[in-house]
């Protein structure tokens, strides 16, 4: 097999995994605070269409990313208000957010289904990008891919090296103690949910503006749910989240190449691969109940309000 094909697959894998990196890292922070937001799919969709429209109107990637983030944050605020202020059930509220997001993104995007965006060329770093092989593997990506790695580093530092990260994790483990120590559990959880919304928004923008680049109704196609599964798969650890995201990127990319290798298989079978892979990894990681119990934030999915405790 040609080394160039392998390199292409590798580079495409990183790009395919990047929307998942953003969305799953956001969900990781949300879940670390003890809140389970199942609305990632909806937030990504609304982020995607907002970023897409911004890009189509202005041509500015920065503006598109900001719009996607803002849209993701707005969506996450609806969820946060329901589950944190009104103490609604987190599972039902997350589902509502996804259903709402599917509907509203389809509605907003109706005039943009046939709009084509100019793709954004990858960064061309002088000298580095021109090095054979190395240049292709390390220096041939677009800006948001590098940004996602910066984000990963930041999140690892935040969670494990900073006081704020310690507080976030403490609240996720035991909100009652956090409250007793004088931290605003609800306030911190709001921030964590908003962060998750912003990241899901960027993930959506990446998908619609850089990866495809076009708008199709429901184009997130389960990536939001796969991101949630990735957090479980990663046992709530950032480095494993990103590894898992690229693994899924690879599964997605294999679809496009497998027919090129001369294997006769229908496209629908190949489209099933990421979903089946998600189920398989979930089973492998959940099989041991202790793995989940020891690693998941202890208060995950439960309602806490100082007034009722």
């Amino acid at each position: 097999m040609n080394i160039d094909i392998l390199l292409n697959i590798f580079v495409a894998t990183i790009a395919a995994g990047t929307p998942l990196v953003y969305a799953a890292l956001g969900e990781l922070i949300t879940e670390k605070s003890g809140v389970l937001n199942l609305g990632v799919e909806g937030m990504m969709l609304v982020g995607a269409i907002s970023g897409f429209i911004a890009m189509a109107k202005t041509g500015s990637l920065v503006f598109a990313v900001l719009c996607g983030m803002a849209a993701g944050i707005l969506m996450s605020l609806i969820f946060a208000f329901l589950v944190l202020t009104l103490m609604a059930n987190q599972v039902a509220s997350g589902l509502a957010l996804t259903i709402f997001g599917i509907g509203i993104s389809a509605f907003i995007g109706i005039d943009y289904t046939s709009v084509a965006l100019k793709g954004i060329p990858p960064l061309n770093i002088p000298f580095l990008s021109d090095i054979p092989f190395i240049g292709r593997i390390f220096f041939s990506y677009d800006i948001l891919i590098y940004l996602s790695l910066v984000l990963l580093t930041g999140i690892i530092f935040f969670l494990y090296k900073s006081r704020a990260g310690l507080i976030l994790r403490a609240i996720g483990e035991n909100p009652k103690s956090g409250h007793a120590l004088g931290f605003s559990v609800i306030g911190i959880r709001y921030l964590a949910v908003i962060f998750g919304g912003a990241m899901a928004g960027i993930g959506g923008v990446y998908l619609a503006v850089l990866y495809t680049p076009m708008w199709v109704e429901g184009m997130v196609a389960g990536r939001g749910w796969i991101s949630i599964a990735l957090v479980v798969f990663a046992t709530w650890r950032p480095l494993r989240v990103i590894a898992g995201a690229y693994l899924f990127g690879g599964v997605t990319i294999i679809q496009f190449h497998i027919q090129g290798f001369g294997i006769e298989i229908s496209s629908q079978f190949l489209c099933m691969l990421p979903y089946l892979a998600t189920i398989i990894v979930l089973v492998i990681i959940s099989r041991n109940k202790n793995t989940i119990r020891l690693n998941s934030p202890a208060s995950l999915g439960t309602t806490y309000h100082p007034a009722t405790n």
Binding site: L82, A88, S93, I99, F100, G103, Q268, S286
Partner: protein, 354 residues
């Protein structure tokens, strides 16, 4: 602040029933604002959305046709939801029900036997339950989250249906369109009332409401499900088997969704298409919640959500608005319900001046 919020000593029974009504009113008000923002006359928009689709006999029939799968699946999902077992996979289970029943209709397309329809329903029930077995098995044996597994299987189920209608089961005389042959007379449900499209499938949905009522509210397993959902520790202390409830909860949803799939293809659709449901599996989740996880409530809320479907189609035709409005209304309805439920446990009190 003139008001303060205080917890109620006991959850309010009255609010439990009022909160869906509050949610509907809030949804209507927000809908009004949305139509105003879109520059449509709100009166004519509301007329087009909520009145126009059901102002004649045929329209009412359409309403019941749309409500039928919603109430059927809604009741099925409720069995699980009551025990906090979240089957989000009804859309895929419906597709698999359609696949299994459609296979029968296609392979026996020359038969005129009266047993084709019952055979299709049995096959469809099997297909839906088979698809629900997977999350149930993976949950009970491997502790895998049923929300994520059942959701992933939606995509897989729909892709299987797509694969078949694009390939093996494509109508050879269909000019290359991805669709099966039109079902023969013996594989189609009879029309109940002349002048409408009301098919016999709605009988199953009405029966489901009735059976669900007895099962959920009068049977011991229904009680176990409820206790398990309200107080998991109490349920396990009482010796209720959680695994059994996971199986029950998921299979009931799969059965209902599978049957709904059969009714759709042998009723209004009459053949297999790559897509046999406009999101009934997801909308049924809203139906179940707005109906307060109670069969009587589900009956009413299925009519409401069905009207949202018809309204979306109607404003598309009459006002040139995208039918995706339906999804916005559905999402809002559930948001407002979840928000209004706050009033079950809390109340506003006028602050007295000291």
């Amino acid at each position: 602040m003139l008001f303060k919020i205080e917890p109620r000593p006991d959850p309010s029974k009255k609010m439990k029933y009022l909160s869906p009504l509050i949610a509907v009113v809030m949804m209507l008000i927000t809908g009004l604002i949305i139509f105003l923002i879109l520059g449509k006359n709100p009166v004519s928009a509301f007329h087009a959305f909520f009145i126009e689709p059901v102002n004649d006999f045929y329209g009412l029939g359409e309403l019941i046709i749309k409500a039928s799968p919603l109430m059927l699946i809604g009741v099925g999902l409720t069995v699980g939801f009551r025990a906090n077992i979240w089957n989000i996979g009804a859309e895929g289970q419906l597709a698999m029900g359609a696949v299994f029943a459609g296979g029968i209709a296609i392979y026996f397309s020359n038969s005129t036997s009266v047993f084709i329809i019952p055979f299709m329903f049995i096959a469809g029930a099997f297909g839906g339950m088979l698809w629900a077995c997977i999350p149930a098995f993976l949950k009970t044996e491997f502790n895998a989250n049923e929300i994520l597994v059942s959701l992933m299987l939606n995509y897989v189920g729909i892709l299987i249906l797509s694969l078949l209608t694009h390939g093996y089961w494509k109508d050879p005389n269909g000019y290359g369109f991805p669709q099966s042959i039109l079902f023969s007379e013996s594989a189609l449900l009879p029309i109940l009332i002349e002048g409408t499209r009301l098919h016999a499938g709605i009988i199953i949905s009405f029966l489901a409401i009735f059976i669900g009522w007895i099962f959920l509210l009068k049977s011991f397993i229904g009680f176990q499900l409820q206790v398990s959902g309200l107080a998991y520790n109490a349920a396990s202390y009482a010796g209720f088997k959680y695994k059994k409830m996971v199986w029950f909860g998921l299979l009931a949803g799969g059965l209902a969704a599978g049957l709904a799939g059969v009714s759709e293809i042998s009723g209004p659709i009459g053949q297999l298409l790559p897509s046999v449901s406009p999101g009934y599996g997801f909308a049924a989740i809203i139906v179940a919640f707005v109906g307060r996880l109670h069969p009587g409530g589900i009956f009413l809320s299925s009519l409401l959500v069905a009207l949202l479907y018809l309204g979306g189609e109607s404003v598309q035709m009459n006002l040139d608005l995208p039918s995706a409005v339906t999804g916005i209304f559905q999402g809002m309805l559930l948001f407002y319900l979840l928000a209004a439920d706050f009033l079950i446990n809390f109340r506003f009190k006028v602050k007295s001046k000291l």
